[in-house]
């Protein structure tokens, strides 16, 4: 028993020290179907938060209307206000590998490659994945899902109540 325990500990340690690039971040965001008179697909920012001080550790994706002739979509980026304050306002748009089109209602699966973007240099440890949505003539909501970077783990889920459905995160 003792031996198997120490073996387990050893293997866990081994996993934690393997290069993070072996793993990807698998995220599923449920964009809720809303019965409203005027529906616009939400703007969504997906970013990583350091749980200790609530600072941003990187932006993974921003879904917005970059093709808008009027304002290139950037006029409303500030409505994802937590992300805007902690990360967005110092970025320039469109952002390579981050900017993307808004998504339709339903489960939206995205895989963020561990070898690219902010994940490439993310130190192993505890983080929150934050999905923050803001909708024109609608509301604002941020959903946080804790995950451990550095080793594969079980999927974790948190649910929004208004502007977001279930958000599932798995390190694979």
């Amino acid at each position: 028993m003792k031996r198997s325990l120490s073996l387990l500990t050893f293997s866990a340690l081994g996993a934690a020290t393997t290069p993070a690039l072996a793993a990807d971040l698998n995220v599923t965001v449920e964009v809720p179907r809303l019965t409203v008179a005027e529906y616009h697909k939400p703007y969504v920012a997906i970013w990583i938060e350091n749980p200790a001080d609530a600072t941003a550790a990187g932006t993974l994706a921003v879904w917005y209307d970059a093709d808008s002739k009027e304002d290139k979509g950037v006029k409303w980026l500030k409505d994802m206000r937590q992300w805007w304050r902690k990360a967005g306002r110092t970025m320039s748009f469109p952002a390579d590998g981050i900017s993307g089109a808004t998504r339709a209602p339903g489960p939206q699966k995205v895989v963020f490659a561990g070898a690219k973007g902010p994940l490439k240099d993310l130190k192993p440890g505890q983080y929150n994945l934050v999905v923050e949505a803001a909708r024109e003539v609608g509301g604002h909501e941020a959903v946080r899902v804790p995950f451990t970077w550095g080793k594969p783990g079980k999927p974790a889920t948190a649910k929004g109540t208004a502007e977001l459905g279930a958000v599932t995160v798995a390190v694979k």
């Binding site: 009027e70 304002d71 950037v74 006029k75 980026l77 500030k78 805007w84 304050r85 306002r89």
Partner: protein, 301 residues
């Protein structure tokens, strides 16, 4: 005539002609500049600003603010005129285009002098800009008494990342130093600001905060904080919304006695140059006042 000179001339004229009530005056009327947004993104950002003087915040129901002295200081420190200005019965409006990223200061800083002296056996009075004071009041006038006022009223808006150039102190009057940036305020989080008086820490200064939407509350919700020895203070905005912030420093004679009402510019003139009024009474002594007002927005977490 340069823009600045014309502006000063208009300010001086307004000071004599209009019964504008400043926040530093005896009653509770408050002057405010409320922008349509304080945190903005993107190249096409504009804000519209409402400017008025009222008791309840922020409801334009008393007097429009004169816009003659209101200018925009851009993130690079350059000063621009406001756009599309209009003055109605109860409020003035204007636009500001945020053509560059960074923090903009929108507002006015005005200085004025009230003076009395004796000339040819008669008491003379003056009220106006420091420039006109220098021209119209003889050097070395007998029995010269002055009350000097310096007032600021401003608000801040930021496109993209906040910058601090517009907060560079001038060393005149009361000035705000952003320890926490005024466009980085979130309800429930402590923010720190600092006040300077003539460039030095304004210690033991009482700062009043008054939240907007007062019509829908049973009590106004005003609260006060005091600055420490270094001029700084902490404040936590209890709710998201617009807040009116004010601080006033006075010393010596206020000019509110029989010699003439009003502490700042804009009160009814007390025997202005050229005015054929009742015999002027002299000021009782020298004095100064410095006022600072800003509208700040705390966002929802």
């Amino acid at each position: 005539m340069t823009f600045k000179k014309r502006l000063l001339a208009v300010v001086a004229g307004a000071a004599l002609a209009l019964p504008i009530v400043l926040p530093t005056a005896a009653n509770a009327h408050r002057a405010w500049l409320v922008p349509s947004a304080t945190v903005l993104s993107g190249e096409s950002a504009w804000v519209g600003v409402d400017a008025a003087i009222s008791n309840e915040l922020f409801y334009a129901d008393h007097n429009a603010m004169r816009l003659d002295a209101v200018v925009v200081t851009q993130p690079d420190g350059s000063v621009e005129k406001i756009q599309n200005p209009a003055t109605g019965k109860y409020r003035s409006i204007f636009d500001v285009q945020l053509s560059k990223p960074g923090t903009y200061k929108i507002g006015s800083s005005t200085s004025s002098v009230m003076a009395s002296w004796t000339q040819d056996g008669q008491v003379k009075r003056f009220r106006g800009s420091p420039e006109d004071f220098a021209k119209q009041v003889p050097a070395g006038a007998a029995d010269l008494k002055t009350i000097k006022s310096f007032n600021r009223n401003e608000t801040f808006v930021t496109r993209d990342a906040p910058t601090t150039t517009v907060f560079a102190p001038t060393g005149k009057g009361l000035e705000l130093v952003p320890v926490t940036h005024p466009n980085d305020l979130v309800a429930g989080e402590a923010a720190t600001f600092k006040f300077l008086l003539d460039g030095k820490p304004a210690a033991d200064l009482e700062v009043t905060f008054a939240p907007g939407n007062s019509r829908y509350r049973a009590t106004p919700g005003d609260f006060k904080v005091k600055t420490g020895a270094d001029g700084s203070f902490k404040v936590t905005f209890p709710e998201a919304g617009m807040y009116w912030m004010n601080a006033t420093v006075r010393s010596g004679e206020t000019g509110r006695g029989p010699g003439g009402p009003g502490g700042g510019m804009g009160g009814p003139g007390g025997g202005a140059p050229g005015g054929a009024q009742a015999p002027a009474t002299p000021l009782a002594g020298n004095g100064m006042s410095a006022g600072y007002t800003a509208t700040l927005e705390a966002l929802r977490p």
